[in-house]
Subunit: 356 residues, 2 copies
């Protein structure tokens, strides 16, 4: 995506080329994926003028050929960083002013890199890449819409089947299974947190029986690499009056927070709006209000207390207020929202309290 | 695990304490997990004398309390690295000689860190941690055995059901579902690669129909955080004489490679043994022979061409030779092996060619 705009960034930074790498097969490099569609091991080089190219280990060669990149080199059987340099030299690129993403470059990788690239001046483009990825293209918006629509369908199917799940793990496994058998990745390990587990926003589904009371279900898939993210809190059994009230209170805040979003608004203001609306429960809201989504599940903009980000057209982010009572229960309601002149909710599963 | 031995490393490095951090909820910090059992967001501080402690964001507090660490601090709502420093000061630790894992410390994290810790001398302990984790304790070996035994059961169930899978995705989804509903994590996204997809060692299950011929199935789970890893290549249909021959040829190499492992042997020699045994197929073997497994799926020792590692008692690693023919097919056979005076194969699923 957006190689042309990225080249303008290289120009501004006075860098001859950018290098992104992935030496860990368990987590793709998001920028490499964004610019090339490739998520395997290797390095991506994007220069100001030449065609972008990949350097990959032999074992990944066939896979790299399925990416958007036409020019692919074998890394040979040397060490990872040692094998990148000769390929760059072969392409007659200057090797002094190089752009790198310092959020995804480890101290040791940089040390190996510097051994090869003498007199290296590394310019950090981590923020530039995040800023570029914040504004989604038409194509990306189509992928994100499709991703949200799949998440909706699968979550609704899980809710319909919820009575058949004995444990949180079974519910989580069902969500993943439905995604995977359609050939979709999940955007993160589903969270199914019943009873007191619901008070842990990042709880992992456990083998414990699903208990009566609130149950937080947080789920999303990836479609063509693009993430969706949504949470519904359902109720197992029959909620009391107070429980209904607190759920509906949170729901009204979630809806209002979405509805009041405007172009150019400070993201910290949207957070403030939700936090202040929570009144006496403000301290029970222990995380940010939301985050951008794209090829990564957590991107900018950041909708939290100290964020400097602002809302722009074609941003896609979550709105997810929550209330947590340690050792008792938790409630969270989350949608993925596109801002296109006005807020457009992409995840469409009903939000009135569902009782199972 | 092994805090005492780790403290000896701090002594040798003349470091007052080590700090490990995780600012990305999608991938736990392996050393943090190893020393604390905690895999959420936050930082772990292990000093020479004091009890280890965690600094975590509010939203992770409840979860951190379920880890092995008793002393837990809230990070408050400041920026990640800014909030670690005051907690360290509160514990009266000297802040000059600090040990960090430079394989898992990004350039930007280090920049933020240095703003707080003036006159910082950071000592790299990445290799020390890997070396420490190479030798498994009795408890870790029990976890790894259990992990392998679960992987065996699930893989065998998938093979029994293989006829019912139309696509690679369906087979992959089944493997994951069986793991997840038992409350087990998977150690990596299962690989199901049929026909020509089998020539890509890291192929991801696709929506394409499972084709006749070889089908590579690479799978593992995590039990109490500990990974298993195994591959079986099955045959869809009836293999020809040549196909049977090449499979059995690879199988004999895999078995012999395991059987000839000795204490103190160079890991590169085990690789050489397998590579040379492959004869004319040597160039069709495009990856290393194996890797350590533990809290990470890829650890040391490294069983590859240029490895400097040696086999020691209580190491656990994979042996996984493969032969790949681009655009045609691939075969890989992999076990997780414990070295305890002699090689002990922990994954026990039969290896004779299975025809579906």
């Amino acid at each position: 995506m957006r190689i042309k705009e990225f080249r303008a960034i290289l120009g501004k930074k006075r860098a001859d080329f950018a290098v992104f790498y992935n030496s860990d097969s368990s987590k793709p490099n998001a920028n490499m994926l964004y610019f090339s569609g490739y998520k395997g091991l290797g390095a991506l080089i994007v220069s100001k003028k030449q065609e972008p190219f990949l350097a990959v280990p032999d074992m990944e060669f066939e896979r790299a050929k399925k990416s958007m990149i036409k020019k692919i080199y074998s890394m040979e059987k040397k060490k990872f960083f040692e094998s990148i340099y000769p390929i760059i030299k072969k392409n007659h690129l200057k090797t002094k002013n190089i752009a790198i993403d310092k959020n995804n470059f480890t101290l040791n990788s940089y040390r190996y890199f510097k051994k090869q690239f003498k007199n290296l001046k590394a310019k950090d483009i981590s923020l530039d890449c995040l800023k570029l990825r914040e504004i989604k293209t038409e194509k990306e918006i189509q992928f994100l819409k499709k991703s949200c629509s799949y998440a909706d369908k699968i979550l609704q199917k899980a809710i319909k089947n919820f009575k058949s799940f004995r444990t949180e793990s079974e519910a989580g496994a069902f969500l993943e299974y439905e995604a995977k058998k359609k050939g979709l990745e999940i955007s993160f390990n589903p969270i199914v947190a019943s009873g007191s587990n619901g008070s842990m926003p990042h709880h992992e589904p456990s083998n414990s029986r699903i208990k009566k009371g609130f149950c937080v279900v947080d789920f999303g898939v990836k479609y063509k690499g693009y993430c969706s993210d949504m949470t519904r809190t359902i109720y197992i059994g029959k909620p009391g009056k107070n429980e209904k009230e607190i759920y509906n209170f949170l729901l009204s805040i979630q809806k209002n927070a979405i509805n009041q979003i405007k172009n150019n608004q400070k993201c910290s203001k949207i957070y403030d709006f939700a936090a202040e609306s929570l009144g006496k429960y403000k301290n029970n809201f222990t995380h940010g209000l939301g985050h951008g989504v794209g090829v990564e599940i957590h991107e900018t903009p950041n909708l939290s207390l100290n964020s400097k980000d602002r809302v722009r057209n074609s941003m896609v982010f979550t709105i997810e207020p929550g209330i947590y009572f340690p050792k008792r229960f938790g409630i969270r309601i989350e949608d993925t929202v596109l801002f296109g002149n006005k807020p457009i909710t992409l995840t469409k599963t009903a939000k009135d309290l569902i009782m199972i």
